[in-house]
């Protein structure tokens, strides 16, 4: 695991950009207290960034939304950038994504704007140094929990970031993701949905529409949830007694426009649900820009489980 032997800052934030957040795998075991999960909106790309830098599952890395971030290295660092293509450069040279690279002391790493996808992940060998709050460093701005200062704030210009020194095993893990492991965010997203209990309360027409529509991602989309616009879905029940809601839950408020709940969602809610996206489908949705089109596809939990376990098997030897 990480060693706290090298805590002096070695990355300086030259320009913070709109939204860069430190995220580990999330905050668990406290949801009954009303504390949300947090963690990477695109778990898939986040996990690969750690994998490529030899970091164990759960290591905190940076989630960079919309780009705009500029950093300078205070010493040579091994890093990997995955997720969205933000036109990242080091000293104006394009940075190859989904592979481990060396970022040399004094060089400026700059993220421009989304070319494809919405969120990039920057992992550093050893992992970023931050003190866990309620068991996690996951940054949740609304709850003022996590992040580098513990108050859930996003990166600010001038911040100094520290990185744990590695145990001297820089060869650990693959240096490059295989081509078929790299998602193409330019393709319209097809999202696996596991039907939920209230699906029977939607009208036949609405069920047809739900799975035969190219939904449009609304600009009301953030780490709490993503609203989809399209045909109005009608459910015979309009509200429920509030109950726990899980990652990927697709809730349908009375206006008939679904909201897919992501990492920073409230812990309980009272709208009927069509079902839940599979974890990897939620990851994919988190890379969609407003006005992009997505399709929902009903999937069995067996198939989704097989896919998820296959993904996690890549990281088995590093889990906890």
């Amino acid at each position: 695991m990480n060693q706290k032997s090298n805590p002096e800052p070695c990355i300086r934030v030259l320009r913070a950009g709109p939204l860069a957040l430190l995220q580990d795998s999330g905050r668990f075991g406290v949801r009954h207290l009303g504390v949300t999960q947090g963690g990477p909106a695109d778990l898939y790309s986040w996990a690969w960034a750690n994998h490529l830098t030899g970091n164990p599952w759960g290591t905190a890395n940076l989630e960079i939304t919309f780009g705009g971030l500029q950093l300078v290295a205070g010493r040579d660092l091994e890093i990997a950038i995955t997720g969205a293509d933000m036109g990242a450069t080091i000293e104006q040279r394009p940075v190859p994504l989904w592979q481990r690279i060396t970022w040399k002391e004094g060089e400026i790493l700059a993220f421009a704007a989304p070319v494809s996808g919405l969120r990039a992940y920057l992992a550093v060998c050893g992992g970023f140094v931050a003190e866990p709050v309620l068991g996690s460093v996951a940054s949740v701005t609304r709850e003022a929990l996590g992040g580098f200062c513990g108050m859930g704030t996003k990166l600010e210009t001038g911040d100094q970031l520290s990185v744990y020194s590695t145990r001297g095993e820089p060869g650990d893990g693959p240096l490059q993701a295989p081509r078929d492991a790299i998602p193409d965010f330019r393709q319209p997203a097809v999202l696996d949905l596991l039907p939920g209990a209230q699906i029977a309360h939607f009208t036949g027409r609405s069920l047809f529409d739900a799975f035969n529509t190219w939904w449009q991602v609304d600009d009301r989309a953030d780490r709490m949830g993503v609203r989809l616009t399209g045909p109005r879905l009608q459910c015979q029940i309009s509200t429920l007694v509030s109950e726990g809601i899980n990652l990927g839950g697709v809730q349908v408020p009375p206006d008939g426009q679904p909201i897919v709940l992501l990492n920073d969602r409230q812990t309980i809610g009272g709208y009927p649900r069509l079902g839940s996206l599979s974890p990897l489908a939620a990851s994919r949705l988190a890379q969609c820009l407003p006005r992009e089109r997505v399709k929902l596809v009903a999937r069995s939990s067996e198939a989704a489980l097989k896919q998820y376990r296959g993904f996690r098997a890549l990281f088995y030897e590093k889990s906890r």
């Binding site: 009954h32 207290l33 726990g244 990927g248 309980i268 839940s276 599979s278």
Partner: protein, 242 residues
Amino acid sequence: MSRTPALHRSTLESAGLDSWIVRLFEDIDEHNLPWLSALSRRCEQVFGGALVDLVPSYTTLLVVFDPLRVSPSEARTMLLRILADLEPDDSSHEGQVHELHTWYDPRVGPELSRVAEQAGMTVSDVIDAHSQQVYRVFALGFAPGFAFMGLTDPRLECARLETPRRRVPPGSVALAGRQTAAYPAATPGGWNLLGRTSARLFDRERKGFSLMRVGDQVRFVPVSREQFEREGGDTTPMEPSS
């Protein structure tokens, strides 16, 4: 005391790859709580290290497990087995009792007079009605440590504000429908404010973090402004239309 179960009607509903909603009841009722707490404890025993989170709320329990260790169908079997012989917790498991010292005053409870007017009561009757009852915590949510409690005296029933406030100060004691709550931190909010408590509702330095848990019992105790201030309460008045 617990009522005869309606548990033959409990259902399991998929909430995704890693979770089930166990629906025990249809309606909000404090008699649900001994069942929900018993179910939570049994889940902790049976799922052990494969358990990720448990979210009790009014009538349901969301059970989140690690899908690398337990498949959804295995989890379903485990839950059905638990439900088959579930017994409600007896009173020895009933939650902690909290007394929330509260300064009821129009300066920090701007809806106090409106609630009174609507109920045809005096302000001091409203304070009595709100503070003489022991509430149960039905759910936590909305924000860390925010406890939904009830049910209030039916005369105090009131709708949410038409336009939520952008900032409700921490400690604000509030009503909506027949529920009451206290805001642990400054957040937006649409509930009717009656006063402010000096209690620290959520504290990251405290063991367990949240003062209240589902099933706990809560009473609001009226205190003077002086006592409220002495106990660390913030007397900054609300801005008229904030």
